[in-house]
C-alpha cells in the first residue's frame, strides 16, 4: 500500500501487426497521442516519462534516444528508460510519483519483433558460457518447462490447447491435438504470434486522477522478483518469484475478479494460475493475452492496460502480471482497484 494514491487513468495501443513499416518512434508518437488526448492532456502536462524498449531487438545502440522524439521533451523534463517491458517502466513511474512533487507520468512499451529471427536473437541473451554457445532458443526453454509442468500434473496437452482456443477465440481442441509438434510437447497453437506494436499509459496522483477521470484504476500493490538466470538452477514446475511478488502486492487482501497474465506459451498460463492459487472465479486473460498478440516489450504493459480497463468499466479488483527472461525468470505483479 502506498502513502500517495497513484492510479492508471488511461492507455492506448497501436494496431498490433505481424510486421509494421513504421519506426518505433512513429509507433510511440501515435500511442502517446492516443493515450493523452481523450484525457484532455497535452504533452506539456506530462511531468515524467519512462520508456520500456530494447536496443538489442532494434539492432541499434541507443535506439531509445530517438524514441524521445515522440515525447516532446522540451522544456527539459524528467525522462527515463528501462531496457525492459513497459510494465517495468510503469513500476519506475509509480515509484517516482510517490515522491509527491509531480502529478502526471506517461510510460510506454515498444518493440518490433519482426526485425529478426527470435530463434537466433534470443540465445545470445542466455548464459554466455553454458547456454548461448548451444543456441538454446526460447522455444526450447518453453518446451522443457512445458514438459516439467505436464509431469507435475499442472497441465496436459489438452488443457494447453484449451487455453489456446479460449485466448484466441478460435480452433478446435481435438483437431489442434492432431497437429505435429514444433518442439514436443509444444504445437503451433501453444506459441505466441510475432507482433510489432507499442502501448502508452498515463498515471496520475490521487486528486489529479480524480479530476481527470470518473473511475481511476488505483495501483494498490506492485512488486517484482527475479530468479537465477540459468534455468538449470530453478524448479521449472514452480514460479516462486511470481508467488512472492503476488504476496507482496497484496493478492490475499481481496478477491481478484480479472487477471491478465503475460503467458506467451499456453502452459505458462496454467502454471501461473496454479502458483497464484486461482480458481474458476477468476477470469483470466479476457483480452486474449499474449497468445493473441505479443508485442515484445509492450506485452506486459498491455496486460496492465487491460486490467485497468476492467476497473474503468466498473470492476473492483484486477491483477496484472508481466514476465521477462527464459522460463518465467522474472515476474511482476500489479494490483489495480476501483473505489466507489
Amino acid at each position: 500500500m502506498t502513502s500517495t494514491d497513484i492510479a492508471v487513468i488511461g492507455w492506448a495501443q497501436t494496431e498490433m501487426v505481424r510486421q509494421t513499416d513504421s519506426s518505433e518512434t512513429k509507433l510511440l508518437l501515435n500511442a502517446i497521442t492516443d493515450a493523452i488526448t481523450p484525457l484532455g492532456l497535452t504533452r506539456a502536462d506530462i511531468d515524467f516519462t519512462c520508456l520500456g524498449s530494447c536496443d538489442y531487438i532494434t539492432g541499434q545502440a541507443f535506439s531509445f534516444v530517438s524514441n524521445l522524439d515522440a515525447i516532446g521533451a522540451w522544456p527539459p523534463k524528467r525522462d527515463s528508460h528501462v531496457e525492459m517491458d513497459g510494465a517495468w517502466a510503469l513500476y519506475e513511474a509509480w515509484l517516482r510519483l510517490q515522491e509527491g512533487d509531480i502529478e502526471i507520468a506517461v510510460v510506454t512499451g515498444s518493440g518490433r519483433s519482426s526485425t529478426g529471427d527470435p530463434a537466433l536473437i534470443y540465445p545470445m541473451e542466455m548464459d554466455p558460457y553454458f547456454l548461448a554457445p548451444l543456441g538454446a532458443d526460447p522455444l526450447t526453454f518453453a518446451a522443457l518447462q512445458a514438459r516439467a509442468v505436464i509431469e507435475a500434473g499442472i497441465a496436459t496437452e489438452r488443457s494447453m490447447a484449451e487455453v489456446s482456443v479460449r485466448s484466441r477465440g478460435k480452433g478446435n481442441i481435438d483437431e489442434l491435438l492432431t497437429k505435429e509438434y514444433l518442439r514436443e510437447p509444444l504445437r503451433r497453437h501453444d506459441l505466441p504470434p510475432i507482433t510489432d506494436g507499442a502501448a502508452a499509459m498515463v498515471l496520475a496522483t490521487g486528486d489529479r486522477a480524480r479530476k481527470l477521470v470518473k473511475r481511476p484504476a488505483y495501483i494498490t500493490g506492485f512488486d517484482h522478483r527475479s530468479e537465477c538466470h540459468n534455468p538449470s538452477f530453478r524448479k521449472l514446475d514452480d514460479s516462486p518469484s511470481t508467488r512472492i511478488a503476488a504476496r507482496e502486492a497484496g493478492i490475499a487482501d481481496g478477491a481478484i475478479e480479472v487477471a491478465e497474465l503475460q503467458a506467451a506459451f499456453t502452459h505458462e498460463e496454467l502454471l501461473l494460475r496454479s502458483v497464484l492459487g486461482f480458481d474458476d472465479s477468476v477470469k483470466v486473460n479476457p483480452s486474449g493475452g499474449a497468445l493473441r498478440s505479443n508485442p515484445i516489450m509492450a506485452t506486459g504493459l498491455c496486460r496492465i492496460g487491460y486490467a485497468a480497463d476492467h476497473i474503468f468499466n466498473g470492476g473492483n479488483r484486477a491483477l496484472a502480471h508481466s514476465t521477462s527472461g527464459p522460463c518465467l525468470q522474472q515476474n511482476l505483479v500489479c494490483i489495480l482497484e476501483g473505489r466507489s
Binding site: 509494421t20 513499416d21 513504421s22 519506426s23 518512434t25 512513429k26 508518437l29 502517446i32 497521442t33 504533452r43 532494434t58 539492432g59 541499434q60 524521445l68 522524439d69 515522440a70 515525447i71 516532446g72 521533451a73 522540451w74 518490433r112 519482426s114 526485425t115 529478426g116 529471427d117 530463434a119 537466433l120 536473437i121 540465445p123 545470445m124 554466455p128 558460457y129 553454458f130 547456454l131 548461448a132 554457445p133 548451444l134 543456441g135 538454446a136 532458443d137 526450447t140 518446451a143 522443457l144 518447462q145 514438459r147 516439467a148 509431469e151 509438434y181 514444433l182 518442439r183 514436443e184 510437447p185 509444444l186 537465477c228 540459468n230 534455468p231 538449470s232 538452477f233 521449472l236
Partner: protein, 328 residues
C-alpha cells in the same frame, strides 16, 4: 512502399572464464565433468556463487557423471545454424550422476520416440577439445561415453578464455525521411525539414520535430546551404577492433550551415589534415561523383549518401568565440 534494409552485426567476443568456469572447461578437455559443492548440493554447471543467495562458494569441485538421467527434453526437428547438431536432435536437462541440478545439452537420440523422462544418456566427446561446452558433441543413449573420431587429448595448459561469435541479422524499415535526404544528396542537395509549429529546421532526415513531437513530411522539406563553419571537433585515435577500417588518427567535425541554425554532426573532413582542424574553419560539402558507390543505408549521424565530407573553402576563419559551444 517502405524500403527495408538488412544489416548484420557481429561481435567476436573473447570471454575470460574465471576460476570456476575455467576449471570446468579445462576438465572438459580431459573428458571430465565437474560440479561444485553448495552445501549438500552439487551444482552442475558450476557457478562461483550460490544461485539462491549469491554467497561465494568454496572451490570444492566434484567430478560427476559421465552418465546421467534425462529430466526434461524436447525434440528439435529443424536445427538452427546456432545449434550443436545439424540433424534433428533433442535438447534435454540431464541430471548427471552425483549432481543435484541438471545440465542443458543436446542428445543425439535418432528420434523423439527414443526419449522419455528417465532415459539414461552419456557424453560423446569431440576428438579435439578446446575447453568449450561443445567439447561434448552431444549426449548419446546409454551408460558409455564415446569419443567422436581420433582423440587429441586434453589441453596442455589450463583453459582461461573462450571465444563466442555473436552475429545477428536485422531487417529494419528505412524511414521515408532518411531515404529522401540520401536521394537529394545524389543531386548534391542538402535537404532539411522545417517544423510547422516552432519553425526549427532539422537536417539528416530526422523525420520528427523532437520539441513538438510532430512528424515532418515532404511538405516540410527545405534546401539547406552547402557551406558552413566548423564549430567543434574531435580527433579520434582508432582502436583496432574487428571491422575498424581507419588506421590513422582522424577528425570528426560539427558544421554550422551558413545563415541557418542547423548543425551537422560527426562529419568527416577532406583535404584538411587532422592536425590542422580547428574551430572556425570555413568548409564546403564534398559530394561523391555519380560513378562512385555510395552508402544507401540510413544515416545515423555523420556523412550520408553522396555527402562524403567537408573541405576548406580557403576563406578566412570565422572567429565568433561562441561558435565552439554549438554542437546541437
Amino acid at each position: 512502399m517502405t524500403r527495408f534494409v538488412e544489416s548484420t552485426i557481429t561481435f567476436p567476443y573473447k570471454r575470460s572464464l574465471g576460476p570456476v568456469v575455467g576449471m570446468f572447461m579445462t576438465a572438459l578437455t580431459e573428458q571430465r565433468i565437474l560440479g561444485i559443492r553448495n552445501g549438500t548440493d552439487v551444482i552442475v554447471p558450476p557457478m562461483e556463487w550460490d544461485p539462491a543467495t549469491g554467497a561465494e562458494l568454496a572451490h570444492d569441485f566434484v567430478e560427476v557423471g559421465p552418465a546421467g538421467t534425462v529430466e526434461s527434453w524436447t525434440w528439435v526437428p529443424k536445427p538452427s545454424a546456432q545449434h550443436p547438431l545439424t540433424h534433428p536432435f533433442a535438447f534435454a536437462f540431464i541430471r548427471l550422476d552425483g549432481a543435484t541440478t541438471p545440465l542443458l545439452h543436446a542428445v543425439d537420440a535418432g528420434s523423439a520416440s527414443a526419449l522419455s523422462v528417465g532415459t539414461r544418456v552419456a557424453p560423446r566427446w569431440k576428438g579435439t577439445r578446446i575447453g568449450h561446452i561443445t567439447d561434448i558433441d552431444a549426449f548419446v543413449l546409454g551408460e558409455t561415453p564415446e569419443v567422436a573420431g581420433p582423440d587429441h587429448g586434453p589441453s596442455e595448459t589450463p583453459v582461461s578464455m573462450m571465444e563466442y561469435q555473436a552475429s545477428i541479422t536485422y531487417n529494419n524499415p528505412v524511414p521515408v525521411a532518411a531515404d529522401r535526404v540520401v536521394e537529394a544528396s545524389k543531386a548534391q542537395r542538402l535537404l532539411g525539414q522545417v517544423c510547422p509549429v516552432c519553425a526549427r529546421v532539422y537536417a539528416g532526415g530526422r523525420g520528427y520535430c523532437p520539441i513538438d513531437a510532430v512528424e515532418l513530411g515532404t511538405e516540410h522539406e527545405v534546401d539547406l546551404p552547402d557551406k558552413g563553419t566548423i564549430t567543434n571537433y574531435a580527433l579520434v585515435t582508432p582502436v583496432q577492433y574487428p571491422g575498424q577500417t581507419e588506421t590513422e588518427p582522424f577528425a570528426r567535425v560539427f558544421v554550422l550551415l551558413d545563415g541557418t541554425d542547423v548543425i551537422l554532426s560527426y562529419q568527416p573532413v577532406i583535404e584538411l589534415a587532422a592536425s590542422d582542424v580547428h574551430v572556425g574553419v570555413r568548409v564546403a560539402a564534398v559530394w561523391a561523383s555519380p560513378a562512385e558507390d555510395i552508402d544507401e543505408g540510413a544515416a545515423m549521424g555523420g556523412a550520408y549518401g553522396a555527402l562524403i565530407g567537408w573541405m576548406p573553402t580557403g576563406e578566412p576563419d570565422h572567429t565568433d568565440p561562441d561558435l565552439v559551444n554549438r554542437i546541437f
